[in-house]
């Protein structure tokens, strides 16, 4: 969720209303909900408990979790109104996430 920080602050109210954030994780916890509320973004948290969707998308970091379990490869994808991928960022280092400014530019490029 770190990648969304800064995005909420920079989008106008109208833009926030027009953009849907869909956050997929094996553990959509309370902290994420609190953060999203603070950002005032239209968001949905979806639980991919067995990582089936992450696996189908090829977004798995094998044995990357704290206990050696498979975890999602952090990824941020911007889809246009037709559901076509227009921009994406896949982490190659789990400390590094896309700059909110880059996500913002990708969203604005869609005329959101």
């Amino acid at each position: 969720m770190a990648e969304l920080q800064g995005l909420g602050a920079e989008l106008s109210e109208a833009e926030k209303a027009g953009v849907q954030v869909v956050a997929v994780s094996p553990d959509p916890n309370e902290r994420s909900h609190t953060m999203a509320k603070e950002l005032h973004l239209g968001y949905r948290f979806l639980a991919d408990r067995d990582l089936a969707v992450c696996r189908r998308y090829g977004l798995i970091h094998p044995r990357g979790g704290p206990n050696g379990e498979d975890v999602p490869r952090p990824a941020t994808v911007v889809l246009d109104r037709e559901g076509i991928v227009r921009w994406m960022s896949l982490s190659t280092n789990f400390q590094v996430r896309p700059d909110p400014g880059d996500v913002l530019r990708a969203v604005r490029a869609l005329g959101a």
Partner: protein, 131 residues
Amino acid sequence: MRATPLAVVSLLLAVAAPVAYILLIRVPTVRNHPGAYVAAFAVALALAVLALVRGRGRRWPAWIALGVSALLLAGGTWFDLVVARVPMTPTVLRVGERPPDFTLPDAEGRPVSLAQFRGKPVVLVFYRGYW
């Protein structure tokens, strides 16, 4: 040049770098440059070596600084380049293509599909839950 003040600066730098990184993890510019704490450990190590080679007076603080900064440099480099590295895996996501649809339960257990958001730009985020 006295050895002890140099050793103290080295120790402070070695300790302050990871603390600052963790405290400022929410600032994207800081978070996205983990190499900065590795560089700080390297500078701290150089200062400790300088204190040992060129410094006058007591030596034990410089030896402590050398040990701490060398350990942190080795550990930090290993964490940043090995532990934190996410292997490149083949993904079905392609710019210009529509990814496969999926349906997953939301926080209240209601099924939600990606396709139902057609008509709105979507920021789709895959994350780990704890980080």
